[in-house]
């Protein structure tokens, strides 16, 4: 059963002549337990889709169904116990004046959950941070540690779906590997569903089962990971992304004027 179903989703910013169509009639479905990737370059609309899915953007048109229920523009509180998001920039997604403990306590207080200290300890353990980190401020943490705190914060409400918005783009390669492994572990042990958004085809190919390639607000094609690596014919843009992710090739660096 598809846990997320999106049909003809469109998002427009601004109105009149200056209106920009960020997402243009996008449709896709994500099965429960799947890791689904959205790949594209900046401005293609992939992050906008995530924001529409989790309710941060309220002016969208089309149909969004999550866990069988049709979504309205505003979400009720219980929705947030089902779907959570991890943001891109670990330096920007933690409140600079709150300690780790305060940040993790917030969702607990908002939803009046019991056993706060237990929950916090457990979630810190799940993401590989010890109790030493509870009273640190974000500026005392490294990029990887901040991202782990962000993941812990997303997990504390025990969601079923995690929306990952370029979660490793701001991290070093070695730290990225650790966080990707963490995502894999959490996925397997907690039975989560992921939608992973990234511009990095390598990261998407590593974690995802299926992916959609986006450009200028539209989905150009959807494929399984095997299709990427095997020689199945792909959309020209997908091929371009694929080649570019292999590194610089002077023969392919088309000297196109801009």
């Amino acid at each position: 059963m598809a846990i997320i179903e999106v049909a003809d989703l469109s998002v427009q910013f601004g109105d009149g002549d200056g209106a920009v169509t960020a997402v243009d009639k996008v449709s896709f479905a994500v099965e429960s337990g799947e890791v689904f990737g959205l790949v594209g370059e900046s401005g293609c609309g992939k992050s906008t889709i995530l924001r529409a899915l989790c309710g941060l953007i309220q002016s969208w048109s089309g149909a969004i169904q999550i866990n069988g229920a049709a979504m309205a523009a505003k979400r009720d509180r219980d929705f947030y116990k089902l779907v959570q998001m991890v943001f891109q920039d670990p330096y920007g997604s933690l409140h600079p004046r709150h300690t780790v403990n305060t940040a993790l306590l917030e969702p607990i207080k908002i939803h009046h959950l019991d056993r706060p200290r237990e929950r916090i300890s457990k979630v810190l353990e799940d993401v590989g941070l010890g109790p030493n980190f509870r009273f640190r401020f974000p500026h005392q943490l490294s990029g990887g540690q901040r991202q782990r705190v962000a993941i812990a914060r997303a997990l504390i409400l025990e969601p079923k779906v995690l929306l990952l918005d370029e979660p490793t783009s701001a991290l070093d390669v070695s730290v990225q590997a650790e966080i990707l492994n963490l995502f894999r572990e959490l996925h397997d042990s907690l039975g989560l569903t992921y939608i992973l958004v990234s511009h990095d085809l390598g990261v998407v190919a590593h974690l995802c089962d299926r992916l959609a390639v986006m450009n200028e607000g539209k989905i150009l094609e959807q494929l399984h990971i095997q299709d990427l690596t095997e020689n199945t014919p792909k959309h020209a843009y997908t091929q371009e992304l694929f080649n570019a992710s292999a590194g610089y090739d002077s023969r392919l660096a088309t000297s196109s004027a801009e």
């Binding site: 390669v173 390598g202 990427l228 570019a244």
Partner: protein, 288 residues
């Protein structure tokens, strides 16, 4: 990737050390590195905190006040950069060594037209009539493959895309005809397809003019495919140095660890090998 031999050494650095004096104590960003750059593309790769950016900036003495830069030698084609006066450094910056920075959003002056900024980079080093400055600017804009130089000349930085902004940055840095370019993460803020095009321009210009290029980046794969030689930095030291083509056979465990930690489309693994940092790496040899 050119096969040009670095026939003459442009930049020669020996035992460079940079430390920052902060409230929390002394932070040693660069701990004794030595390298040289000829008419070739040398990549300096490292993660955050490795000291690669500080290295680039300390050559041009663009480090903050609380940094202290010492070395046995920083020599650029006969000029001693270590002991040069500020006035002498001004003669070097832009004219002989240029620096391309990461994000044109932040490195271009937002309130001046793009054409004027490029022109200024030229006229600050040469006394030349204004008409000629404009002509040279338009020439340079075509050299970075901007289709309509006259139109772009009058644009403001916020009116151009990331890729075009970076081409403009390259134009600005190349117009005074330097001998060495230091590029600090020049394509990290760009989309992947745009990145390839901008690198193509940089590649051609560097080959055409016989320049040296110091390419600082965190992207090992990119540097390995773009540059001629690669230096890997860790904790302020150079732990590996080899030809780019030989990177796959790298010896140092840190390099191997970095290579293994990259997710590869063609060779999917369930878990990526974690880079286990050996404290002994901090004392790695630092000379070429």
């Amino acid at each position: 990737m050119s096969d040009a031999k670095p026939d003459e050494t442009l930049l020669d650095v020996e035992d460079l050390r940079v430390q920052f004096n902060t409230h929390h104590g002394v932070v040693e960003a660069v701990r004794g590195i030595s390298f040289s750059v000829g008419k070739e593309k040398v990549g300096i790769v490292g993660e955050s905190g490795s000291g690669k950016t500080v290295t680039g900036r300390s050559i041009l003495r663009l480090t903050p006040k609380m940094a202290s830069v010492t070395a046995t030698r920083i020599n650029f084609a006969g000029t001693d950069l270590l002991n040069a006066t500020e006035q002498q450094m001004c003669q070097v910056r832009g004219k002989r060594i240029s620096m391309i920075m990461q994000d044109p959003k932040y490195s271009l002056n937002p309130v001046r037209r793009v054409g004027h900024q490029i022109g200024e980079a030229f006229s600050v080093h040469r006394r030349v009539p204004r008409a000629e400055v404009k002509e040279r600017t338009l020439e340079m804009l075509s050299a970075v493959r901007i289709r309509d130089p006259r139109r772009v000349y009058d644009l403001y930085p916020h009116e151009v895309s990331g890729g075009m902004g970076q081409r403009i940055m390259i134009a600005m840095m190349m117009i005074p005809d330097p001998d060495l370019i230091i590029a600090d993460e020049p394509t990290s803020a760009l989309d992947v397809t745009v990145r390839m095009r901008v690198l193509g321009i940089l590649d051609d210009l560097v080959a055409e003019r016989g320049l040296g290029l110091m390419f600082i980046s965190h992207d090992l794969n990119l540097v390995a495919t773009f540059c001629d030689r690669v230096l890997i930095m860790y904790a302020g030291r150079i732990v590996e140095s080899c030809r780019a083509s030989e990177l796959r056979d790298a010896q140092h465990p840190y390099t191997r660890g970095l290579l293994d930690a990259l997710p590869r489309i063609n060779a999917r693994r369930k878990m990526l090998p974690i880079l286990a940092r050996d404290p002994a790496w901090r004392d790695a040899g630092s000379t070429l």
